[in-house]
Symmetry: C2
Subunit: 141 residues, 2 copies
DNA sequence: ATATCAGATTAGATTCATTCTAAATTATTC
DNA sequence: GAATAATTTAGAATGAATCTAATCTGATAT
């Protein structure tokens, strides 16, 4: 997604494409990691020192509500964010807490009796274990 | 798990079975919901008004480290907790944010090339959609 | 080009969630 | 009962996120 696509996706959802909002979106789209709001603010503020922490939070909230960004479900104090591009699962390292993308694949749905009358929209898998940095060299699998 | 089992599981992990710690553990074990630390503190403090918020937080941290309690991966500001009993998946409602247990079933592991050299310990599924309270009466499935 | 309006930004204050601190208490062991 | 170490306490402190009122800025109309 390039600059024009970002603009179109923002305006298509009734959001103005301000430099600050664009910067948040661009930061997330080129980030493979799942940054916290503070990390996003630091990255955005590095390029434009006048930009405000509250603006970054406001923009994140608006982008999540607009469906362009998602908050990643992870444990820990700070929320983490992800631009909604290709769907993917997540891998969370038990040791260092790092969150990585894992290629999407459809998981089988659970038995109907488990789901009951709920309306299922998505099944996301959270994998846990040790990431490549934290795994021992000769891992048994 | 009854009182004696709680005591044994605490002491088996080098933790004293204090009334406050027992109360946190018991609260989580009889709670089907996934309470926040504040909700746990309120419940525990209701029964023993002298108990301290810091104690509840300290005990939650110790219980998580001891492997008796787990922090549930959800979005939002406050962490949520779950006693580790039977393994289960979670369902998060898009509308009300409620977190419910879904019976465990093993999901197929992803392709080896997706996982690479990571060491996989667990695959938890997060289901999202509308819970039974929020779903329309005649839901299409 | 100017005026108007509504969305957005700003900077610091405020709130919420969680952790820290030092003193006191309590459970365990001898 | 004494000693020791774990734990609790109550409030302070910190980190994360939100609020506020004033100001700025982009879009639109003229």
């Amino acid at each position: 997604m390039n600059a024009e696509e970002i603009r179109q996706s923002l305006e298509g959802r009734g959001l103005r494409c301000t430099p600050q909002r664009y910067a948040v979106m661009a930061f997330l789209m080129e980030s493979n990691r799942h940054p916290t709001a503070a990390e996003i603010f630091e990255g955005v503020n590095h390029m434009d020192p006048r930009s405000s922490r509250a603006t970054t939070y406001n923009n994140l909230r608006d982008l999540v509500q607009a469906g362009l960004v998602r908050e990643v479900a992870v444990e820990g104090r700070a929320a983490r964010f992800d631009a909604k591009g290709m769907r993917h699962h997540h891998f969370i390292c038990d040791r260092c807490g790092n969150v990585e993308d894992i290629e999407w694949y459809n998981v089988p749905r659970p038995a109907s009796k488990s789901i009951g009358k709920r309306v299922l929209r998505e099944c996301e898998v959270i994998f846990r274990g040790l990431c490549t940095k934290c795994a021992p060299r000769h891992a048994t699998r």
